[in-house]
């Protein structure tokens, strides 16, 4: 092979790999991402049943109902709307009424949310950013109380 041919082989190989990588990334970005929604978004009917989403808000006071075994349901609110969430599993350590929560799953046809994941928080004063923004949208953000505790 001449020097030029060698170089072309290299560039060709690099091109193929890069092309494949870009293709995969673009395809995955179409299909494999999950949008975040607040209860108000769901009330506005912007989420189709069966579409995988993240739902975040505050756990409504007095809404946690324990069912059979590890089944549990609770209501997530952003002040503007409420969504009932059903979950089967162990809730994270810092899951509490009145606190922020992010869940992942799908809306069922009855207008409730079937969550398969309830995300853990790492710190009792920490509010998921998405939840804080959703609360601000609904005008229910209670100042920078949480932040004041940290600083």
């Amino acid at each position: 092979m001449t020097r030029k041919q060698r170089r072309m082989t290299m560039i060709g190989a690099a091109g193929v790999v890069l092309f494949a990588a870009v293709g995969l990334i673009l395809f995955a970005l179409q299909d494999q991402i999950v949008f975040f929604n607040s209860p108000s978004d769901i009330a506005a009917n912007s989420v189709k049943p069966g579409q995988r989403i993240r739902l975040g808000g505050l756990v409504k006071d007095g809404s946690i109902l324990r069912g059979q075994g590890t089944k549990v349901s609770f209501v997530v609110t952003d002040g503007g709307a409420d969504v009932t969430v059903a979950y089967n599993g162990i809730l994270p350590d810092l899951f509490r009424e009145g606190q922020g929560v992010v869940t992942e799953g799908v809306m069922n046809t009855n207008g409730a949310f079937d969550a398969d994941t309830v995300l853990a928080k790492h710190d009792e004063t920490y509010m998921p950013k998405e939840v804080a923004d959703a609360l601000k949208d609904q005008g229910h953000w209670q100042g920078d109380e949480a932040k004041a505790k940290v600083n």
């Binding site: 995955a28 324990r66 350590d93 950013k129």
Partner: protein, 661 residues
């Protein structure tokens, strides 16, 4: 007083770093030896000053001096002593101080042990290191000062975030930083080479030990963080493709590419420009990681309290260093002449392939990590990119790379013979196919592709010994001859074999653990039994106790298999008194050093029963053992005489280096 001295030392160190960033580089420009020789003593003195400053903060933590705001916020007098030490970096300010401390350790090491470096290269390298130190010391002093006092000192501290009260905090951050920050040295060397406008194979030999060191520690740091998350969070996961994890994984991927391209440059004088670019990119990704984690754009256990001012400051540093580095690269890279022609099928070719796949994989992780931030900034839509994205993009890019790994070391430099390499690998191929068939035949359940994944892991594991066999020739030569050859093998051959072996082990661990694990979540009352994967767990009782700064509810479970007792597991639900925050303390039993039984407690139910999570995790320890083996591989390579810092270049080699330059 000690605290004020610590603060003062930090300011002195900053002043020194300013001198270090100007004088040596100036000296190198005008070829003034005295100006250049200033660099080393300054680097060492700076290490002393930052060290004393770090010691002052540590002293405040160990003596529980709550008049220091940082100590008050993150410590408690009843904490066990170890956690008083680790609390030092269990918060934003202290953790940045640790970052800078490790940065100056590396600078001092170059200053103290870099005697054989050409004076110009050394002066420029330490000068660039001075820029980084100055920038980050300024960041600590201006936005993240850990030495602030409180006017009226509180009696008691607010305790460290309970989730961080673990041995993991003693190990994970220092190791990770040794890796992250270690790449600053190869960055500094690259910028120095660009400033000087010349580079040769010897340059690669000086840089490689630093890359190896940083890479080894980063490997361990990531593995340790992953194991910590695995046992501390109580949900059995070890990798979540969380942006913060990706932040450490990207420099690792890029650093792995750098490790390999530097070999080509050292041995063959080729890929110079690419190696320089990779080392700039690797440290840029380290900085990006620091920005993502420390600025508060991401919320996670790593983010601590967030402050937009800090984020902006790091962003400016990020843009300055990455932009400056790349601009200098664009301007000066054409000065570096390329050398070393090679055919696509050759050792060099295989290393180029390695670099290609690793950089594509880094790009995929980068897109997945930054896309949500970019989308939110531009359209306001909030999305999360999780495991499915990375499985679809990162996974397929790793498969061809893993298949190619055993071939690389068997190909000759310049022009290799793929057929001959394949002949040497027929046994590895045979065993891997046998493994695949056996898994298909004897293991029930699991995804259909899992046996193939295990086969690829086995292929890498067995293939990693092929180069040693090629050089030693067991069963071909008399045993005594083989053994004497084995003794004479260069350590770097062991290094690469162990590195690849570790990769294969980690792959096997990931595939088996994620495909064949058994998870069981249930409500158990005292006296109940459950059988998972052939192990019977019986709930014997609950015990409450209180110690240090927390109180525990501990469950006792006996585990039996076929009527024989295996072990007793004691998972704990712990509540920390100061913050009233619960944590899960899992209990794990490791069988044959490979598979694990994993238990954690959930909530107490109204009727006194407990929610219990049980996992059977087959071969899971291979994930971290593999990383440990990779680390040992880096150690072996470092121990190689040819690479030892300051080892004089042999005459022939020096000539060859000069001729390819």
């Amino acid at each position: 007083m000690i605290i004020e001295l610590g603060h003062y030392m930090l300011i002195l160190a900053f002043a020194l770093s300013l001198v270090q960033s100007v004088i040596p580089i100036w000296g190198a420009q005008i070829a003034d030896n005295r100006m250049m020789s200033v660099a080393s003593p300054i680097a060492v003195t700076q290490f002393l000053f930052v060290g004393l400053s770090f010691a002052a903060l540590t002293h405040a933590y160990v003596t529980s001096d709550f008049s220091v705001q940082n100590v008050w916020e993150n410590s408690h007098s009843t904490q066990p002593l170890l956690y008083k030490y680790t609390s030092v970096w269990g918060n934003h300010e202290g953790s940045m101080l640790l970052w800078v401390f490790i940065l100056v350790i590396f600078g001092a090491l170059v200053g103290a042990f870099g005697r054989n470096l050409p004076p110009k290269l050394k002066a420029n390298t330490l000068g660039v290191q001075g820029w980084i130190t100055a920038a980050f010391l300024l960041f600590v002093l201006v936005t993240s000062n850990p030495f602030h006092r409180i006017a009226n000192a509180p009696i008691e501290g607010r305790d460290l975030n309970p989730i961080l009260q673990d041995v993991g905090l003693a190990i994970h951050p220092p190791l990770l930083y040794l890796g992250y920050v270690g790449f600053s040295i190869s960055f500094a060397f690259s910028i120095a080479a660009l400033l000087e406008g010349r580079i040769d194979a010897a340059w690669a030999r000086w840089v490689r030990p630093w890359v190896l060191t940083a890479w080894g520690f980063l490997t361990l740091g990531i593995a340790m963080g992953s194991y910590w998350a695995y046992y501390e969070l109580g949900w059995g996961g070890y990798w979540f493709w969380d942006p913060v994890e990706n932040a450490s994984f990207m420099p690792w991927l890029c650093g792995t590419a750098l490790l390999h391209s530097a070999v080509v440059m050292e041995k063959r004088g080729a890929l110079k420009v690419w190696t320089i670019l990779l080392s700039i990119l690797t440290f840029s990704l380290s900085l990006l990681g620091t920005f993502l984690v420390r600025s508060g754009v991401l919320t996670s256990v790593h983010a601590f309290a967030t402050d937009p001012g800090r984020g902006l400051f790091i962003l400016v540093l990020l843009v300055a260093f990455i932009g400056g580095g790349l601009a200098l690269f664009a301007w000066r890279a054409s000065l570096l002449r390329q050398g070393g022609v090679f055919s696509p099928i050759s050792r060099e070719g295989s290393l180029v392939l390695n670099n290609l796949f690793l950089s594509a994989a880094t790009a995929a992780v980068l897109v997945g990590t930054l896309y949500p931030l970019a989308l939110e900034a531009t359209t306001g839509a909030k999305i999360s990119v999780g495991a499915p994205f990375f499985n679809l993009t990162f996974g397929p890019m790793m498969i061809p790379l893993l298949i190619a790994v055993p071939f690389g070391p068997l190909l000759a430099w310049k022009r290799g013979d793929l057929g001959a390499a394949m002949q040497r690998l027929w046994m590895a191929l045979g065993i891997s196919i046998l493994v695949i068939l056996m898994v298909y035949g004897f293991v029930e359940g699991g995804p259909a592709l899992a046996p193939l994944g295990i086969g690829i892991g086995a292929w890498v594991v067995i293939g990693s010994f092929a180069e040693i066999q090629l050089r030693v020739g067991f069963f071909k030569n008399p045993l005594a001859k083989s053994l004497s050859r084995l003794k004479g093998l260069p350590k770097s051959v062991w290094g690469s074999a162990l590195g690849h072996l570790g990769v294969g082990m980690t792959v096997i661990g990931i595939v088996i653990a994620s495909s064949y694990q058994v998870e069981d979540i249930s409500i158990m009352k005292v006296g109940d039994s459950r059988t998972i994967a052939g192990y019977t767990f019986t709930f014997e009782g609950l015990k409450e106790s209180s110690e240090h700064n927390y109180s525990d509810v501990e469950g006792t479970f006996t585990v039996m298999q076929d009527g024989a007792s295996v072990t007793t597991l004691r998972p704990v639900k712990r509540v920390y008194n100061t913050r009233g925050m619960p944590t899960t303390e899992t209990d794990i039993y490791t069988m044959w050093g490979v598979s694990q039984l994993y238990m954690s407690l959930g909530d107490k139910q109204d009727n006194g029963a407990m929610a219990v999570r049980i996992y059977y995790k087959p071969w899971v320890t291979f994930i971290w053992l593999g990383s440990l083996v990779m680390f040992f591989g880096a150690c072996f390579s470092l121990a190689d005489r040819r690479l030892r810092v300051g080892a004089p270049a042999r005459k022939g080699r020096a000539k060859q280096a000069a001729s390819t330059a």
